[in-house]
Symmetry: C2
Subunit: 347 residues, 2 copies
Amino acid sequence: MENQRVGKQSFRLSSPPVITAWASVAGKKESEGPLSQYFDICSKDTYFGQKTWELGERKMQQMALDTLIKKAGLTKDDLGVVFSGDLLNQCIGSSFTLRNMDVPHLGLYGACSTMAESLLLGAMTVGGGFSDKVVAMTSSHFASSERQYRFPLNYGGQRPPTAQWTVTGAGAALLCKEGYGPRITGCTMGTVTDLGITDANNMGAAMAPAALATISSHFRDFQVSADDYDLIVTGDLGQLGKDILMQLSSQNHIFLGGKLTDCGTLIYDAAKQDVHSGGSGCGCSAITLCGCLLNKLQAGEWKRILFCGTGALLSPTSTQQGLPISGVCHAVVIEGGNQKWRILSHF
Amino acid sequence: MENQRVGKQSFRLSSPPVITAWASVAGKKESEGPLSQYFDICSKDTYFGQKTWELGERKMQQMALDTLIKKAGLTKDDLGVVFSGDLLNQCIGSSFTLRNMDVPHLGLYGACSTMAESLLLGAMTVGGGFSDKVVAMTSSHFASSERQYRFPLNYGGQRPPTAQWTVTGAGAALLCKEGYGPRITGCTMGTVTDLGITDANNMGAAMAPAALATISSHFRDFQVSADDYDLIVTGDLGQLGKDILMQLSSQNHIFLGGKLTDCGTLIYDAAKQDVHSGGSGCGCSAITLCGCLLNKLQAGEWKRILFCGTGALLSPTSTQQGLPISGVCHAVVIEGGNQKWRILSHF
């Protein structure tokens, strides 16, 4: 059986790549949240021992990669290619992580959808026979993001209620041709979707239409529904964005059947942690997946989830020039169970 | 025959994707240079009819995509996925180009190596059976790059002799499962290589070691030499970077056999156009490939070239923080001839 293009935006993997290992590194606030038990490393130091936040973010990615390699029982020379990207201008968190490591690197920019995009491309690479071992990785950092996208922290700007809190965290997953673990059986590639939101403090609203577009395309392409999933999890819509997605899905008669959740609403305790609308950033979906979600899939708690990485495509320049914020969402089907994994017949 | 991983960094395509169409849009200075006859569109307007340089860059990419679709006799709905990225922060040139086009988009950041990276990933996508029609695309713009990476043009900063001139141009190529045209038969994925250069006005020196690393890995992985190629063409080392690559290759006993050229030295007339060390930017290799090189491959002038996209991985922040400039280089084997294409037996 060959890999198969399915519908307009999707493909099915004939030999689904196995996620044999995963690793997560979390910052201080994330370590105080409800998912802290799932993270491999919880750091109280926002600088991760470095001089600058940017170098701290790099260090965090390095820690995630090192932990992944260790957990998988490999060395860096076993890695066929690393797909990674981040939110820093020119993705320096990712490129500096791989500096002089002598491991092939393909850099991505998918904003906060990067964890899903890197998994999707990693699945293509393994499923297409181009490499046996691929890493999908990303990170974000609250302080480096605020400075770059909004205001320096020292400015003490007031955050509006719609604002989300950029997660300080790095996640990495290893995709292999063979092995035990959850598997990626299908993917849906997102389109750039824009309903005209221009408020850089309201990312959830900008990304929700993209999430709906991809989820509905996924349903249409594979001829499936929410009933086929134990969970449909978006990346970082936050509470407000999730509410908007619920409304939009209802208006458009896309039935989500109570399966929807969002990493941005899972990662913090909204009542206690003063994060307004919830978490955001590449790291948000990355450490939720590479901490909590993959653990639960491995344990057999869920059989199949749809992991939907959401990204807001903007730059400070485009916002200052009054341009709208586009969204993108890539979706990856991950099937769980460690021992007797099989492709469910009707999928 | 299946796709095959070859050596540490490379892979061979069992059914080489065909580049059935390509398109290039060039700015004013590029249109006055020695390659002007090859470009589909030559614009005298640096703004491309828009209000800002950033929107001009977007317009330029849109023109390249529209021209490509037209030349291929397709509509946008025929496109399976577009791989693209650019130099603007958060790659807004690419994401705004695809805004609300309803075409799947996977965003890349490979700095000036993006044309090669997008071809490599496009070849994987078609070769792996995930899509029949994939676009690889990128752009750069002199004015938007100077403002973002160095100084606003109005500042009138003096350019040192090592500086290169960012090409204003956009290139796009269509990769198909079937059809007539040059084919991608193998690829080598680059590693992030850094010898400690910190001068943001000397990109060629920063990228030359990465180019050498990838070319030598390519030779080793495929067990080939410069003799197997009619041309080895780097992306944007410029005159200085090319000279450094020649020196490094000689020191490391990597024989390039007079086959080396660089898009940054081809695109301008150095004696007349006051570009110091030559051209640079994603658009440099993009319009040289999607203008001149693919035309010549199609015409049978060359049988096989190694197209090596070179990228300097830096941000103004990393430079201001005194960090070195890493380089990356991805290489794509393109075999020419329109009619009777075949994989040469010894490759």
